[in-house]
């Protein structure tokens, strides 16, 4: 499932929204997701994706913006994880001669 699919499923389950209306351009407030509901959505996204989402996410207006933002956070996290793994390997290699 794509990020869009997963967030769409959450909005359908938690806020009883019509999945067909959740297009990239759809304005969430027009669909009844007010600022309070956005806070709840972000909390649930953090649980669903294992992310820490910055407050700025609660001010996004369209479904597509939220999906893009979360995709970027996921990408950043994965990059950070790879780079951490990489530096560990590098460190291992560097350390070997000293043993």
């Amino acid at each position: 499932m794509t990020t869009a699919d997963r967030i769409r499923a959450m909005l359908v389950k938690d806020f009883k929204l019509d999945p067909d209306k959740l297009t990239a351009e759809a304005r969430l407030e027009d669909l009844g997701v007010d600022s309070l509901a956005m806070a709840e959505l972000v909390f649930n996204i953090e649980d669903e994706f294992g992310l820490t989402v910055p407050d700025v996410a609660t001010t996004m207006t369209t479904f597509g913006e939220v999906v893009c933002f979360i995709d970027e956070l996921i990408a950043d996290r994965d990059t950070a994880a790879e780079s951490a793994a990489g530096s560990y390997l590098l460190r291992s290699v560097t350390l070997t001669p000293g043993q």
Binding site: D14, F15, K16, L36, A37, A39, E40, F43, D47
Partner: protein, 410 residues
Amino acid sequence: MRRVAVTGIGVVSPLGHSPSDVFEAARTGRSGIHRLDIADARRMTAPLAATVQFDGADHFEPPQQRLLDRVSQFAVVAARRAFADARCDLTDLERDRTGVFLGIGMGGTLSMDDGYQTLYGQQSDRIKPMLILQGMHNAPAAWIAIEHHLRGPCLTYSTACSSSGVAIGEAWLRLASGVLDVAIAGGAEAPLSLGSLKAWEAMHTLASVDTADPAASCKPFSKNRSGMVLGEGAALVMLEPWERALARGTTIYGEIVGYGVTTDVGHIARPSVDGQAAAIRAALASAGLSAQGVDSINAHGTGTQANDSVETSAIKLVFGARADQIPISATKALHGHLLGAAGALEFVLSLLALRHNVALPTMHLQESDPQCDLDYVANVARPGAAGKTMLSHSFAFGGTNAVLALRAAG
């Protein structure tokens, strides 16, 4: 001053979900108290409570339900029932002059307990974003105003065990004086969180379990009384000017004729004979009644050592030689102590007792305390004994004493 009629009743209570169910349970002595069957009951010395059969999912869509603590759910459902019972269709203009007056003791304590469990128990910072809105004391009243578009004052009173007696009295004052035209008033409470139960237990105010019959553990005015039993629920009434009720030909349950409120200023938790007596006198004065004019009383009657003897003395102080001729009912023996909703549920039972002219029984009273030597209508309802005019007492930690005076319709 205008006359004020009660034209609708909404209840969510341990004794039932309609005025007739609640009245029948109280009349026949069917207790709503039982052993508490929550997971943490083993941590209670005396796991007792009066609980409500209630599933919020039957009344709310999930997005709204997640915003509402159980106490708000009780309040909103009781308000819907009161509106439906009153068949009260308000015009848009009338909604500007309609108020919500609600008593609350512990607020959204179940939600707060859940949040603290996350924070301290699980050592997690994942507090849910709705916790403030679930926990705040004025949420139940606000949800009622929002749902019914009531744009007058939306006020929450938190004077512990007298909260909803105060709420109904303050609503009555505004209707009687003409400041408002319609009010919905009462109380709500959902105090059965482990944190709240343990805190009440720590104060040594809770009853021990009657092992022969746990449902009979609360024994107001009895020699072997051991304390109160916590209960949950909500009770709300629709109030409107008498002439308005007559004009629209609706059922009138009864009339509020007076309200007295005083403060003990002695001790934060120990009740005072003088403070309670002053509240009773203030209610009589406000109703233009003499001590001779009172036919029956719904007592605060918690089943604690301190309350029942002090309340008895206060009644004697006001009514003198006539005190032992007044039937006194303590219905907390059956529905437990609903704290912020107690006064409202007892007000409803008082109205219904007047309407049916039945003095409700004080159950589980086999042997009176020598210090409690009045007529408590022990164990059996007494038809014909409620009379026309009744007082409903609500006294509280903090010392706020509220007494409402009611009269039968017609």
